[in-house]
């Protein structure tokens, strides 16, 4: 079964409920889209992420009312270095969408979405712990997996995988 090439043309994908909702709200918040292997990704502008999440959650026709996951990918050494990834699920429409935010490598900060979904609490703490991304407005941004006095963020690509620390 050969793979279909990804679609990145926003005109072709405008009909998707999440993209339509975001474009309707603020076209500059959508930086790009990608439809690949039956999965929709939307690149969201960094400052718009919290409002984008709350809009998608409260959408009348297709509410993405469940936050599946928050995670991050380190693209070191390229810039922008980090991609923070949100997987949203619509329980009523059985639809998934992935939101991505690109962050620069030096002092990455992002607005927390814990006010939209309290579920993001542990997920964001884990991203902070393992990637060193600071979430502003998070109620309790402390390390969650590593010990409190640990130095460095282990899932970053420039973190050494062998030898003594």
């Amino acid at each position: 079964m050969p793979l279909a090439p990804p679609i990145t043309d926003i005109e072709q994908l405008k009909a998707h409920p999440a993209i339509a909702r975001l474009l309707n709200w603020n076209p500059s918040a959508v930086q790009g889209v990608k439809f690949d292997r039956d999965e929709m990704s939307i690149y969201v502008e960094r400052s718009a992420i919290r409002e984008a999440c709350s809009l998608l959650r409260d959408d009348a026709t297709c509410p993405f009312n469940f936050l599946s996951d928050v995670t991050c990918v380190d693209l070191y050494p390229s810039e922008p270095r980090f991609e923070v990834i949100y997987h949203l699920l619509s329980i009523s429409q059985k639809e998934r969408v992935r939101l991505k935010v690109r962050l620069a490598g030096d002092a990455p900060t992002l607005e927390s979405i814990t006010s939209v979904w309290p579920a993001a609490n542990f997920f964001e703490r884990e991203v902070f712990d393992l990637f060193g991304i600071r979430f502003t407005g998070h109620p309790f941004l402390r390390r969650i997996q590593m010990p409190e006095n640990w130095e460095g963020h282990p899932l970053r690509k420039d973190y050494p995988v062998e030898g003594y620390r």
């Binding site: 079964m1 050969p2 793979l3 990804p6 690949d36 292997r37 999965e39 990704s41 009312n65 469940f66 936050l67 599946s68 996951d69 995670t71 990918v73 380190d74 990834i85 997987h87 329980i91 059985k94 998934r96 992935r98 979904w117 309290p118 579920a119 993001a120 609490n121 542990f122 997920f123 884990e126 393992l130 402390r142 390390r143 969650i144 997996q145 590593m146 010990p147 409190e148 006095n149 282990p154 899932l155 973190y159 995988v161």
Partner: protein, 401 residues
Amino acid sequence: MAHLSSIPQLEPGQDRTMILNMGPQHPSTHGVLRVILEIDGETIIRIMPDIGYLHTGIEKTCEAKFYQQVVPLTDRIDYLCPLTNNLCYCLAVEKLLGLEIPPKAQWMRVLLNELTRINSHLVWLGTHALDIGAMTVFLYCFREREDILRLFEAVSGQRMMTSYFRIGGLALPPPLDFFDRVRNFANRFPSKVDEYEDLLTGNPIWTMRTKGVAKISAEHAMALGASGPTLRGSGVDFDLRRDMPYSSYDKFKFKVPVAQDGDVFARYMCRVQELRESIAIVQQALDGMPSGPIKADAPKVVLPDREKMKTQMEAMIYHFKIITEGFSDPEGEVYQAVESPRGEMGYYVVSDGTAKPYRVHMRSACLANLQLLPAMCEGRLIADVVAAIGSIDIVLGEIDR
């Protein structure tokens, strides 16, 4: 998180309250969960789960392995349902590759997944009942669990860390008498569920300890990211097997048990009914098991048969290349979720076109479910914490990874 920290996580607010540390060695915290309680007498004012004692950095380890070498690591995340994790990872990588899996392999996957769900629910039921004070159920549950572990051993050679699903299909064909043994078990099992229910469902002590305890509403549970029986116990009718089917679950008929109350008893009822539904799926899988190959036709990805590898030059070359160099996935990213016994287990795999995954992230159902604990317990008694922890069915290996 705070293993080495001397700073207490909670400061007592008033003179009347005190801080109580529970775990990580407490037997009813199911592993190494530490819970910090602020209590006024026996009433809980605040509660904070502290995790990270079992963090092994599996996500980082995956980045240094070939795609096929990650499969045994996935067993060790959630050690009560290794096959579910195998399946989720394999489905994610197969989606990246665009592989088509033959029907027999898909049905075998469903069959073993439901057995592993029963296995996991039996451990949950036994330990949950033990926490609340019913010893006998534990012994009964482990009696049946032993039968399932023997089936796993027969099919994969391992009781717990099975690694039986491989990218592109199954590791081995099942042994000749395997289906008879599974049928034998499936015929016996429903009467055993009746035994557990006889001991618990109508038992006044059990109902007093569970009914109305650790209640949570559907909206609250969804906002906090709960999934699986924990969410269905609050009345949200959502099951990935039925609603977003994978691995030919759409060919099976089963009910999704839902309870409305949102308390410990509701979650208990959901899981016990799931035991019955799972065994019904096992029966259907046995009745309709298709014949045919158990591995996909993709020589660059799937290891050749042992016999072919020894007799055919081409097969030997492929074997050598897969073992030494791995196989490369086309660039891209995939999020694959399956319904694990605990909820939505998701694998997010990013490929950069090489033979090793660029990033593997596991969405742990328990991690999200654990966030419900403060909402469930605040304002209740210490004894209810034990019931609440048991009812969300956590596995610390999956939470900490």
